[in-house]
Symmetry: C2
Subunit: 388 residues, 2 copies
């Protein structure tokens, strides 16, 4: 079955169940990059396909900022009109991450709010949600939590690790922390360090949440939530995930309902309605504190300037990992020039790097939109990665 | 004296006083584009240079979103370390808008909060500030208020009208409403219609204000102001006024005060500190409701699709106005492709159009930053515009 024929076969990865692993073995704690300790932690994850007898076909998918472990297929009890997982177009038989060949794993990130321990989880020391007592975590800490899960699953080598955006940062961090475990890496629509522009947008989103009086310094789990602030934060994010071109094509200056302007502050333009809707939907499924923690982890991310300071990327990326770097022409959050900076750094470390800039006008979110080209590209690349 | 020698002579336009004109003659009301009436209105304005005996050397400067009438020089009673007006580098003897030649006028826009009637002004019908009872105004209504001022000053022809951003929209609107009064027009860093992206950013800024409980549906003049929401709105604006390049150069990933990350939600990066500072300063000088009204007027702006609907730009721009259109390479709010759309429309109307895209990495705000090139360009262009 060719990728072309199947990539749109929605839900072909089949039914999937969210699983949970609680890391409670002594010491039962993670020591985070900040020096803080956290534990016990629970990791929510889902898997597709079968692990080979040699345990050499595992693929780790790292999700983006607001994603979760539900990367493909449907839950058994879902209504018929439910949406499949967020990368359903990539995961399934014959797809880019071919579940006839690979055992695909996706875990909710540390600090998230979709099953893995985060600020909305219960702090065992107090019996109440962590809130701002949750220690600040980094992309490196996210990788350590995924390593704990892989140890639990008995997986010591990954055929590839892939993901877009903050997921791409995790891909790079895997190569730095456990290069001996990673045979290939596919960072997509990402950067090797967060730019001032990206930090700026994250900071505005955080401020939008923190100025909401209902945020209450992160202590809102027993009362009304800071939905208004979180909604504005999501609206800011959504503008950065699209592109000027995509917004012109999708919305232009089309009015939402009326023949004429309202001459007021209700919705006039379709793009206003779209953003308000995105904001209002997001608050139903996402925790405001998780936005704070995850955006901060992204801002801290810097593949090159690490502790101890003197290390070069050559020192860091010690193993001969094969790379496929993918960027999108209209992504202005992590533009192609940043992918090229990454490639130059990898090439200076004598690594085997392929690069593809995909022509797409839909901005940063392009990697989430079903597109044959991405599946074909990744499927072909993975076929060329030796199993051992 | 050449432009090159003088453009940095700060405050060379001299002392200036803010003046006020209240249009109270019967009917003493403006009928706005929405159909609503507003009046009496007061217009705050400042002037530099002398009106010629023939009254043929007037230049109108239209300010941007958060600007005001104070375009150059100093107020007589200001402390020595005060900043000069916002376009001081352009206005003065020998500068681009040469006050030895031209009588320069700048008026605070309708809906603003710097002396001209706006939502924070007293509603004569109630004796209290308008708040949301202020009728929605458009860029066209701003032009009508400026026309009232010019009538009062006895000026029936403009050597040029110029301005950047929302000021550029006013330039274009002048050409449409009173083409017989305008000999030349210099729209800078602007667009002939607000794009979906620009509307999106404005809408997020408005939402940031309106979700602040202290906004109280615009009724906050007797109590605490929605400073937190307004501050977030300004932070959003500031990101759009800069550029990826400018932010990399200015901030990069520099930390504000510390050698290490705070692993918390205080300021880590210099860019965070900069944005918070910009937000905190803005609330001291600007009214949140004015942000709502002015951003909405900008969103409504569309030079081409006007009532009555069938009119083409040829019908609208009836007079042979000379145009100088200026854009900046790194302006992503009103990118050069939008300037080119304007130029094509003007050329189709057989108008005399010059165009310059200025190479600058500082984003949309480039037109506000002292730069010899802009003064030279505008000074030379104006010399070539016949006086009658």
């Amino acid at each position: 079955m060719s990728i072309e024929e199947t990539y749109l076969e929605v839900g072909s990865a089949g039914a999937v169940e969210k699983q949970f692993y609680t890391y409670a073995e002594p010491p039962g704690e993670m020591i985070l990059e900040s020096g803080a300790s956290l534990g016990p932690i629970t990791i929510a994850y889902e898997t597709w396909g079968e692990l080979s007898a040699k345990r050499d076909n595992a693929v780790l998918v790292a999700h983006a900022f607001s994603g979760d472990s539900h990367a493909a297929g449907f839950y058994p009890d879902e209504p018929k009109d439910a949406k499949p997982g967020w990368w359903d177009s990539m995961i399934g038989p014959g797809k880019g991450l071919d579940t006839d060949k690979y055992f695909v794993i996706c875990a909710n990130i540390l600090g998230g709010c979709m099953g893995t321990t985060g600020p909305s989880s219960i702090n065992p020391k107090t019996g109440a949600p962590y809130g701002l007592d949750f220690p600040m975590m980094t992309v490196g800490d996210i990788i350590e939590s995924q390593k704990i899960l892989l140890d639990h699953l008995g997986i010591s080598s990954l055929h590839t690790v892939t993901g877009g955006s903050v997921g791409g940062m995790q891909v790079l961090e895997w190569c730095v922390r456990y290069p001996e475990m990673v045979r290939s890496a596919i960072p997509i629509a990402t950067t090797m360090r967060h730019s001032a522009l990206a930090i700026a947008f994250n900071e505005v989103a955080r401020q939008a949440i923190m100025v909401d009086p209902k945020w209450n310094r992160g202590n809102y789990y027993d009362s009304e939530k800071p939905d208004l602030g979180l909604s504005v934060a999501r609206m800011i994010g959504h503008v950065t995930y699209l592109s000027d071109e995509a917004m012109r094509r999708k919305f232009g200056r089309k009015l939402q309902n009326k023949a004429n302007f309202s001459y007021g502050f209700d919705v006039d333009f379709m793009v206003e309605s779209y953003l308000r809707y995105q904001g209002s939907q997001f608050v139903k499924r996402f925790d405001a504190n998780s936005v704070l923690y995850i955006t901060k982890a992204a801002d801290y991310f810097d593949l090159v300037n690490r502790e101890p300071p003197a290390k070069s990327i050559q020192d860091i990326l010690a193993m001969p990992i094969k790379f496929l770097v993918i960027s999108y022409t209209s992504d202005w959050l992590y533009p192609t020039y940043q992918a090229k900076e990454l490639i130059q750094a990898l090439k200076r470390a004598d690594l085997d790097v392929s690069f593809c800039e995909i022509e797409a006008d839909c901005g940063h979110d392009a990697f989430l939109i079903p597109d044959k080209r991405l599946g074909t590209l990744i499927g072909g690349f993975l076929d060329g990665v030796p199993r051992n």
